[in-house]
């Protein structure tokens, strides 16, 4: 039922000092994804072609790359969704430093996470250490906790990609991480000052590119970043609060 079709791939090969696209041909089979093609090329003709991957089921977020210019998980990109009458280009994430071939240094993202104040729960509700939480109270945060840390949103975000504000802006992934803590029913920490001053939430101008590439379909901008922006505005730009602060009235932590 399948006819043997081959496709041409232009894969970026090189390291931090430079590189170029190299062309490979390989046979396509039914249901194949881009990662399969890369593996096949490794086994057939380029055993030293560097590529990260683990689960091959869209759950670990390791095999992020730019396929025909679009940031995607290679394991979830089916060949029959791509035009194969022209070469398929595969290149590494643009926003992070190159290591080799399709592998980039994503350690910056891990360092940013350490800058976000950690989860800080209230005391347990019951003596056995358990809490009462209802499903309706956690669903909002459960959406953010679907994140597989593929960093495609970081890659596509123009604040990082084009303007290289890595020192001033933590990026959509870490904003979603912050949202998952700020909106967690048990958390009592306050991260609004840091969001405004250190994590650069103001840089996001809501173009929603991050939401478009999210393989977990998390509504990053609408459900995460915009509510955080509202909280920051409410906290620091509310005229009444500015007056109260000037008068030295301490804020009271309100329930989330």
């Amino acid at each position: 039922m399948t006819t043997s079709v081959s496709a041409t791939f232009k894969i970026w090969r090189g390291d931090a000092s430079g590189g170029a696209f190299v062309e490979y041909q390989t046979q396509l089979s039914e249901g194949m994804v881009v990662l399969d093609a890369v593996h096949q090329i490794q086994a057939e003709s380029a055993p030293d072609l560097a590529c990260r991957w683990n689960c091959k089921a869209g759950k670990c977020g390791s095999c992020s790359a730019e396929v025909n210019g679009v940031p995607r998980l290679m394991c979830m990109t089916r060949m029959n969704d791509l035009p194969v009458d022209q070469p398929v280009t595969i290149q590494p994430l643009h926003t992070f430093p190159m290591i080799r071939d399709l592998v980039t240094d994503v350690s910056w993202n891990y360092r940013q996470k350490l800058r976000v104040k950690k989860f800080s729960p209230r005391a347990p509700d019951r003596p056995d250490g358990t809490y009462t939480m209802y499903q309706r109270d956690i669903e909002r945060v459960q959406e953010f906790r679907k994140c597989i840390e593929c960093f495609l949103c970081q890659d596509v975000c123009h604040v990082l990609r084009d303007h290289e504000k890595h020192d001033e802006f933590i990026g959509p992934r870490l904003l979603i991480y912050t949202a998952s803590l700020e909106m967690h029913p048990l958390d009592g920490e306050d991260r609004l000052q840091a969001l405004k001053d250190e994590h650069g939430i103001g840089y996001c101008n809501i173009t929603k590119c991050c939401t478009k590439v999210c393989p977990e379909e998390i509504r990053i901008t609408d459900n995460g970043i915009i509510p955080l922006k509202e909280r920051v505005v409410d906290e620091f730009y509310d005229p009444l609060k500015i007056v109260l602060r000037a008068l030295g009235v301490k804020k009271q932590k309100t329930a989330k």
């Binding site: 490794q42 590529c51 683990n54 290591i99 996470k113």
Partner: protein, 606 residues
């Protein structure tokens, strides 16, 4: 290759190898004890196989059914393991799992809730009561992220994308490891007072597997080479439901949660063949008609569980039998149907998507199948290693001082067959125990130095493949090994085939010793494959030798030439170790006898 060059040296009190659930939990506990902790990940942090776990974590919290208790969980685990488990591990596991799950909640995990606001628990194969705390079908992601996000604030030094090539010993104890970093291809020596293996399984020794490239038996092989005993290596779990189509995704897991939510297995004739044969020891607890089975999954406490929720070993063999008999699905599996429950539950398709979001997504994206409207095709896939490093039940120390093991790489808890959900609780309970005991061992045993000459020889061996200009491509040898193991030491075994496999392993070993690698040392997958091959060959031989010796069928091990159980073999575990001549030795050791109080619990819950 010009010389072995230099290496960096790192000093820790406790070094943890592997950063899935068990490794992270061990590292957190060791750090809590106040010692200096290093954590080595083969991949990036948070990408280990725990992330793939779907169904849930088993803990007798009795939130959904108050008849549950640690005793029932213990008895279920022993029955599932066909009574060759280490009973002390099974006891500790059942007793401590609830506290370990609650602890995760205080670290930020958000499990699905009951109406009363407690942690919701779901049904799973072999568990008498709804027992699996879960987050839809992405429980593993929730757990690894919780452990990761908590762990990064505990002062643990994380080394990402490092692979360990050898353990180092001094005066009979393990004092560190030699590793290389994948990004640069440079070597590193880690010196440590105690070392914890948490490297997971061996799935990549087989062609059809739910495991990723990392699961090459590293921990088992490292321990074996360091002189440690391996236990129960014949017991490999073939999960009954992996994807079978399209070919590129064959083996990827389809969670047991599908059946827990009411999914049924049918053959090409549309019959629910799981009703055809129900093992004796589960007959009284299994429904004998479809209607009762459905009542069970919807929470009727009077109903017995449907046969789809029998243990994984049995379900996997029943599927294989249907396929062999010509009653399979078009691509060589059987049908798993959850769509039929639409007529039974409010919300229909939306209910299915809510309960099984990853499965919906996975089939939609990878197979163009809408599971709310049509059946999935599924078949057995190599999933989990019950066997592994033999450990002390309470401390998790291996038979070599200073070397600990926790999670899948360790053996004992699961016996001949693991119940779904017991791996996530295993890694929490025994990860914690390994971490705290390794920390106290390290306090009493300072790190020791190892001669440079020994380190140089380890590095020299790891680089050999670069020196062979015209050897074989390591990926080809790996593929041949996977096909050979799948064919000869797979889900159904027979003496002649296993013997054939042992011969083939000799040949493959010779081929592996002659692979060559091109190019540079930076992020070179061919080179990594060449190094992993040795580990895969070691564990494959251990599986084959133990499978040959167990002339009976029990749990994950099924012998076509000995399809029944053997009472005498039911009282032994198999141990393999490296003999003085460097060859693998096998010894049958008695199963620890059940003390009277635990025997009574087993009896009361039969």
């Amino acid at each position: 290759m010009a010389g072995v060059g230099t290496w960096d040296t790192h000093d820790y009190d406790v070094l943890v190898i592997g950063a899935g659930g068990a490794g992270l939990r061990a590292a957190i506990e060791a750090a809590r004890a106040g010692v200096k902790v290093g954590l080595i990940c083969k991949s990036l942090l948070g990408k280990a196989h725990t992330v793939m776990a779907e169904g849930g974590v088993a803990a007798a919290m009795a939130n959904v059914d108050d008849r549950d208790s640690w005793k029932v969980h213990f008895a279920d685990t022993m029955r599932g393991g066909q009574y060759v488990n280490n009973h002390r591990m099974a006891e500790l596991h059942a007793q401590e799992a609830p506290a370990r799950v609650r602890e995760l909640e205080s670290w930020g995990a958000l499990f699905d809730r009951t109406r009363e606001g407690t942690i919701l628990q779901r049904n799973f194969g072999g568990h008498r009561y709804p027992r699996l705390a879960h987050v839809g079908d992405r429980t593993g992601l929730e757990m690894i992220r919780t452990l990761q996000d908590h762990g990064i604030h505990q002062g643990i030094a994380v080394h990402m994308e490092f692979t360990v090539v050898s353990l180092l010993k001094d005066a009979g104890r393990v004092v560190g490891v030699v590793a290389y970093d994948r990004e640069r291809g440079r070597f590193h020596v880690f010196r440590a007072g105690a070392t914890v293996l948490a490297t997971g399984g061996i799935g990549k020794a087989y062609k059809i597997t739910s495991n990723s490239w990392e699961y090459t038996g590293d921990g088992q092989a490292l321990a074996y080479d360091a002189g440690a005993d391996l236990l129960d290596m014949e017991f490999v779990q073939f999960h009954p439901t992996g994807m079978v189509w399209p070919p590129s995704v064959a083996g990827i897991l389809v969670t047991e949660g599908v059946r827990g939510e009411g999914g049924v297995l049918r053959n090409s004739e549309g019959r629910r063949f799981m009703f055809d044969e129900i093992p004796e020891n589960y007959r009284s607890s299994t429904a004998d008609n479809e209607e009762e089975g459905w009542r069970y999954v919807t929470g009727d406490k009077e109903a017995r569980r449907p046969p789809e929720l029998l243990t994984r070993d049995h379900v996997a063999r029943m599927i294989r039998r249907e396929v062999r008999a010509g009653r399979g699905s078009p691509h060589g599996g059987v049908f798993l149907d959850i769509s039929w429950i639409k007529s039974k539950v409010a919300g229909g398709a939306e209910h299915i998507k809510k309960k099984l979001p990853s499965m919906y997504h996975q089939f939609k994206k990878l197979a163009d199948i809408d599971i709310t409207a049509e059946a999935m095709e599924v078949g057995p896939t190599t999933h989990y290693m019950m066997g592994g490093v033999k450990v002390h039940a309470e401390t998790q120390m291996s038979t070599v001082p200073g070397l600990y093991a926790a999670g899948e790489v360790a053996a004992g808890l699961h016996g001949a067959n693991r119940l779904g959900g017991n791996s996530l609780s295993d890694l929490l309970v025994f990860g914690k125990r390994a971490g705290e005991n390794a920390a106290s061992f390290a306090r009493e045993h300072a790190a020791a130095s190892v001669a440079d000459s020994e380190i140089q020889s380890v590095i020299g061996r790891a680089l050999q493949a670069f020196d062979r200009p015209s050897g074989e491509n390591p990926f080809m040898v790996q593929r041949a090994l996977q096909e050979m193991m799948q064919e000869n030491v797979g889900i159904v075994r027979i003496e002649s085939e296993v013997e054939h496999a042992l011969g083939e392993l000799e040949l493959l070993r010779a081929r592996a010793a002659n692979v060559s690698v091109d190019g540079h040392r930076e992020y070179n997958p061919g080179w990594h494959c060449a190094i992993d091959l040795d580990n895969m060959l070691t564990v494959s031989e251990a599986v084959a030798r133990c499978a040959l010796a167990r002339r009976e069928s029990r749990g994950g091990h099924f012998r076509d030439d000995h399809p029944g159980k053997d009472a005498a073999l039911g009282k032994v575990n198999h141990v393999v170790r490296k003999g003085p001549d460097g060859r693998m030795q096998l010894e049958a050791v008695p199963v620890l006898p059940l003390p009277a109080d635990l025997a009574q619990i087993v009896e009361e819950n039969k």
